[in-house]
């Protein structure tokens, strides 16, 4: 079954009226929400709105104010650290889990179920569980100390410099299963005969993985990276549940900064500037991937 079915000209224009009507909700959604709301937000970012939107135009002053706000710059700093560590850890862990599961092990289904179930939980639940486990007085630190290691320290969650790493741990626990699932699907799409040919040539299995499998997994890695990266920019639930941005501002993230300024601190203009910056970041991350995909699909002759 080919997926490159060229669709011969479907319907005469008359009959297509029903199709146009049916697509109206999609059209309204795209125009009203995905384009309209975004443009409106950007417009507000150029005004001096506080609680209610105002129609004036103050140039880039909200953006200047934004980057002079310490909470914002801290949040950017945090999201960068979080993003790099989280994506790296998820990709590595996900890759190894996928490779190990691909080795025809017994109980593969059980193991796969175990690795992926965290992804079915909400971010809030994940944040709350890890908050409890990392509780210095009653969680892991206390448990290990009670086992006879009185100097064991694991109070990162109340440590301003280390709290961001706790967020990484919780997020990696939740999302590695997703990367594993995507990579495993990719691995299963690789022709088994390649391994047989390599084995005949005397190539060791690890070398096979390095030189044959990894390159073929390129698209799967790309997909995983994009999914993870978009998740990084959006990260909100887990921070609210786990640390509420604390201690102090140490684990503040852009999404939470925007929500706080939008609803709690009545700083609509500032928050809109921040969300525009967020949008531009997402676009910057996506452009290379989209470009690579359109080049690739042009090469393969799809449309």
């Amino acid at each position: 079954m080919s997926t490159t079915l060229p669709r011969p000209q479907p319907v005469r224009r008359k009959r297509a009226a029903a199709a146009q009507l049916a697509l109206l909700p999609m059209a309204l959604t795209v125009l009203g929400v995905y384009i309209g709301a975004v443009l409106w937000s950007v417009r507000i970012s150029f005004s001096s709105s506080k609680i209610f939107p105002k129609n004036d135009f103050v140039g880039f002053s909200q953006y200047e104010r934004l980057f002079a706000t310490e909470r914002w710059t801290v949040s950017l700093h945090n999201i960068a650290i979080f993003g790099v560590l989280f994506i790296l850890a998820c990709m590595v862990l996900g890759f190894f889990l996928a490779v190990f599961l691909d080795q025809r092990v017994r109980g593969e289904n059980v193991l796969r179920t175990i690795f992926l179930y965290p992804y079915a939980m909400s971010f809030v639940a994940t944040g709350l569980v890890w908050q409890w486990m990392l509780n210095p007085g009653l969680g892991i630190q206390a448990a290990v100390r009670n086992l006879g290691f009185p100097d064991f320290q694991f109070d990162w969650i109340v440590n301003q410099d280390k709290v961001i790493y706790t967020l990484v741990i919780a997020a990696v626990w939740q999302a590695s299963g997703l990367v594993m699932a995507v990579l495993l699907a990719g691995l299963r799409g690789i022709d088994e005969s390649l391994w047989n040919a390599a084995r005949i040539d005397g190539v060791p299995r690890w070398r096979y993985y390095l030189s044959v499998v990894l390159p073929q997994l390129g698209p799967a890695f790309g997909t995983s990276f994009v999914l993870l990266a978009v998740g990084v920019v959006k990260v909100f639930d887990v921070v609210v549940a786990m640390t509420l941005g604390g201690p102090g501002n140490a684990s503040e993230v852009p999404a939470k900064f925007i929500m706080d300024n939008l609803f709690n601190r009545a700083n609509v203009g500032l928050a809109s500037a921040a969300s525009t910056v967020l949008l531009l970041t997402v676009l910057a991350l996506l452009m290379p991937w989209w470009y690579a995909r359109s080049v690739q699909s042009r090469k393969l002759g799809h449309s």
Binding site: P8, L23, L262
Partner: protein, 307 residues
């Protein structure tokens, strides 16, 4: 990429069977090391679930002992009862059952609506030529990546203007909108694998747009509808941000109530009740996950492979 799309369009096919030479079983050090690594990873993933369960079944005196991993000595279901019926979620103390029913009322209509529109869009895009549709679809796909924060404020003001803000209808509407990109993609990819001869035959038989949709395409889409139901139920149930903003105080979903129970209490924190509440909130998505198994996986890979 085409291999994955093919798999999606053959929903009842099992994963590609591997034909390799039968190896005799061997317990080489490499093999043992492999199992060791897999088991320790499994322990890492299972640990929080174990801790959640165990903490929720202990009385507070045991928790204060600080033995996080110990099994309960005085096994009790009291924390679960408390979490369900008397925990304080802000102003009232009727437990998290309020959130449970709110979530049900939110998830069911939102799932139905978002799947319906996704199927309709996918069908119209795959089989009918509408001039501006391709371009709109492209923007829709782009929209799936835009962070919610960029669109939230205008949506709040718009919904407030039509008196839908803070109502059940409002939050269902929001979930339908934000579910449209992934659902449309899902169904469009699925219908791309349907032979056009089928469609043409139906047209020759005198079928119009709606008749073909309801009487031919929808019944044929049951596998992908199953996947869509699983995806939407899980994602909407687990949603926090949209429920927090749009649901209004009377309709707050379970995730929001859960956060209220745990992070906004004064006085002593009842960790066992907290963990029981967390488990209660996670039960539905976990049950869906365990029951649906392979379909859940299919949902992830189908949603992940864009375009």
């Amino acid at each position: 990429m085409s291999a994955v799309v093919e798999r999606i369009s053959q929903p009842v096919a099992a994963p590609v069977p591997r034909k390799a030479a039968r190896r005799k079983s061997h317990f080489t050090p490499a093999r043992l090391g492999l199992y060791a690594l897999l088991v320790s990873s499994a322990v890492f993933f299972l640990l929080p679930l174990y801790v959640m369960l165990v903490t929720s079944l202990k009385p507070m005196e045991e928790i204060r002992l600080g033995q996080l991993f110990a099994l309960p000595m005085n096994f009790t279901f009291e924390p679960w009862v408390q979490a369900w019926s008397t925990a304080c979620t802000g102003l009232e103390c009727r437990g998290i059952q309020v959130g449970f029913w709110n979530s049900v009322w939110i998830v069911v209509p939102s799932t139905i609506a978002s799947i319906f529109f996704g199927a309709l869009n996918g069908y119209a895009l795959s089989f009918w030529r509408v001039r501006w549709a391709g371009w709109l679809f492209g923007v829709l796909m782009f929209g799936a990546f835009v962070p919610y924060q960029v669109m939230i404020y205008p949506l709040v003001r718009t919904l407030a203007t039509v008196n839908l803000f803070g109502t059940l209808g409002g939050i269902v509407f929001i979930h339908t909108i934000f579910g449209m990109p992934v659902m449309t993609l899902l169904f469009r990819n699925y219908y791309a694998g349907v032979p056009i001869e089928l469609f043409k035959a139906a047209r020759i038989d005198g079928g119009g747009f709606w008749r073909i949709f309801f009487q031919l395409m929808l019944p044929m889409s049951l596998p992908i509808i199953a996947v869509a139901v699983i995806m939407q139920m899980t994602n909407i149930w687990n949603d926090f941000l949209l429920g927090l903003v749009f649901a209004g105080r009377d309709n707050l979903p379970m995730t929001v109530q859960l956060n209220n129970v745990i992070n906004t209490t004064t006085g002593e924190r009842l960790y066992n009740v907290n963990m029981a509440a967390t488990m209660l909130t996670s039960m539905l998505p976990l049950a869906v996950y365990l029951i649906s198994g392979r379909w859940f996986l299919r949902g992830i890979t189908a949603g992940a492979v864009k375009g």
